[in-house]
């Protein structure tokens, strides 16, 4: 079996405006993001022959997006998917290019996550019982939010490993600090202190509003092509060293099995594919729907040993200047929320050294990791280099 290492690249990234109320449709947001990514790559829209998106019934279709970019592509694909889908669709794109089916693929995520359907605010109860695997075993108990499902993991894991609320606060503070350097971050101008963090009451334990990702209206897009075709682009290519994805739980009802997460299994294959170790990683984008989800992944991906993750974040290692600058645009806790894709865009910009000469640039970074989490049971991740 061949290896794809360094033979594919991300050549364009782009985003729409982000807001609480876009006043427009996900199609318009997707068009803005796609045009920005195409311009970033120095391509024409008609150079894109594959369009893919992931959604939760809250987006426009790839067919619509292509149509209104004036493109008649060979391939469109819309999947129902969670926060590991950026990495998993990039893998699909690479596979289709490798198979000779496509040349260049645009992947996007667009949603009115604030003014439209909200992920974290609960759902129509009967709909969710039917739509969610095993829903009738959690919904009648009032557990309808990812904060409650992942919180169940967090409470147990914190109990076993000594992670405290203050440790979670260090994750939030680190990302909020990055957001203060990013004028486009939604919480730019709203720094967070530990005192404020600890004084903020929980919505659902162990999470308060700062531990929880933003819910916003925005669209993001990423363009993937072969290293060969990347030479025709005006952007600096960021090469894909390795990828891996995994569904782990023996049961779709993952909330009964809270001692493992899919990231535990992704990590080994990911590093093997990329031919690097955690020590080689200069900059990270770690999926951050909740602060604890970052802590659990730092353990899974080998950045700190189980039981030492709390100290690792308290020492400031997630900040620019620390051992593992993470979510350097502010992450989903404080920059924006496109279900993981904004974190993928940021790692590309860091590795291109787009911020050279500013306090946002992770100096001389060469290799980055981007992790996705579609819940404890599904993970996808990639390692990139410049």
């Amino acid at each position: 079996m061949g290896t794809i290492k360094d033979r594919y690249a991300i050549v364009g990234v782009g985003e729409s405006e982000r807001s609480r109320k876009s006043g427009t449709t996900p199609l318009h947001l997707a068009l803005d993001a796609a045009r920005a990514a195409i311009k970033d790559a120095g391509l024409k829209a008609t150079d894109i022959d594959g369009f893919m998106n992931y959604n939760e019934g809250d987006s426009c279709t790839s067919h619509q997006l292509a149509t209104y970019l004036g493109v008649r592509p060979k391939y469109v694909k819309d999947i129902q998917g969670g926060g590991a889908s950026t990495e998993m669709l990039i893998a699909d794109a690479v596979a289709l290019i490798e198979a000779g089916q496509l040349n260049t693929v645009l992947i996007y995520r667009s949603l009115n996550g604030s003014s439209g359907t909200r992920v974290g605010r609960g759902y129509d109860p009967d709909m969710l019982q039917g739509a969610l695997a095993g829903g009738s075993f959690v919904i009648p108990y009032g557990s309808a939010s990812p904060s409650q499902w992942f919180g169940m993991y967090a409470t147990r894991h914190m109990h076993e490993t000594g992670i405290t609320k203050e440790h979670l606060g260090h994750v939030c503070l680190s990302f909020y600090e990055h957001a203060q350097r990013n004028p486009k971050a939604f919480l730019h101008g709203k720094p967070l202190t530990m005192e404020t963090y600890l004084a903020t009451p929980d919505i659902s334990s162990p999470f308060n509003i700062h531990d929880s990702c933003l819910e916003l209206d925005e669209g993001n897009a990423i363009i993937v092509t072969s290293a060969e075709k990347a030479k025709d682009c005006t952007s600096k290519p960021v090469y894909i060293m390795g990828m891996s994805a995994r569904q782990c739980h023996p049961h779709v009802h993952y909330w009964n099995d809270i001692d493992q997460v899919a990231s535990d299994y992704v990590a080994k294959e990911l590093y093997e594919n990329a031919g690097v170790t955690p020590d080689d990683i200069d900059v990270a984008s770690i999926y951050d729907c909740f602060s604890w989800v970052v802590m659990r992944q730092l353990e899974a991906y080998g950045f700190a040993k189980r039981g030492e993750v709390g100290d690792f974040v308290a020492e400031g290692n997630l900040k620019i200047g620390g051992k593992l600058p993470t979510n350097t645009a502010g992450g989903m806790l404080s920059e924006g929320y496109t279900h993981g894709m904004n974190n993928a865009i940021e790692i590309v910009r860091q590795l291109r050294h787009d911020y050279e000469g500013t306090d946002r640039q992770v100096e001389d970074c060469k290799i980055g990791i981007c992790t996705g989490w579609a819940g404890p049971d599904i993970a996808g991740a990639m390692i990139l280099r410049n």
């Binding site: 605010r121 609960g122 109860p125 009967d126 019982q129 039917g130 095993g134 829903g135 009738s136 075993f137 959690v138 919904i139 009648p140 108990y141 009032g142 557990s143 309808a144 939010s145 904060s147 409650q148 919180g151 169940m152 993991y153 409470t155 147990r156 109990h159 009451p201 929980d202 919505i203 659902s204 334990s205 162990p206 023996p250 049961h251 779709v252 009802h253 909330w255 009964n256 099995d257 809270i258």
Partner: protein, 145 residues
């Protein structure tokens, strides 16, 4: 119909072809768990086949009504995420590890429990709350005696 039944605003568990024996047992204030005849694993919640090995050779084991457990993990929610919970905040949702079958954990609320008394390892006992004339919901209560 009594006032209590008309007042019940919370979601009522939907029975389907796979989970009906669990909820039928619950309606009779009993616990039934799906077990694989081939690999002996329990599937909770139940499904069309064994979730561990895929075998269709599954049956329900009746465990009766004397069900004790310990709290394996929990969350305390201070905001209602669904109708009916707004008047009973905070809501405790807990995963109970069964004493009889430690490999099985069941998620319910813990009723009659102060937040300050809640901790991992705490003993709990299953009780059944009649929520309509013909439906009952398994719940945990602290097991203090």
């Amino acid at each position: 119909m009594t006032q209590a039944t008309t007042a019940y605003q919370k979601p009522i568990p939907l029975k389907d072809i796979d989970n009906a024996p669990y909820w039928d047992a619950a309606d009779n204030h009993q616990l039934a768990l799906q077990k694989c005849e081939d690999c002996t694993a329990y599937s909770q919640p139940p499904g069309p086949t064994c979730a561990k090995c895929g075998s269709e050779n599954v049956r329900f084991e009746q465990l009766g009504d004397d069900i004790t457990a310990t709290v394996y993990s929990y969350v305390v929610s201070y905001r209602p995420f669904l109708p009916g919970f707004q008047d009973e905040l905070p809501t405790i949702v807990a995963l109970g590890q069964l004493d009889q079958v430690p490999e099985v954990k069941i998620m319910c609320n813990i009723l009659h429990c102060e937040e300050k008394d809640l901790e991992i390892g705490m003993p709990i006992r299953m009780t059944w709350i009649d929520i309509t004339e013909d439906r009952a919901l398994p719940q945990w209560i602290p097991n203090t005696n």
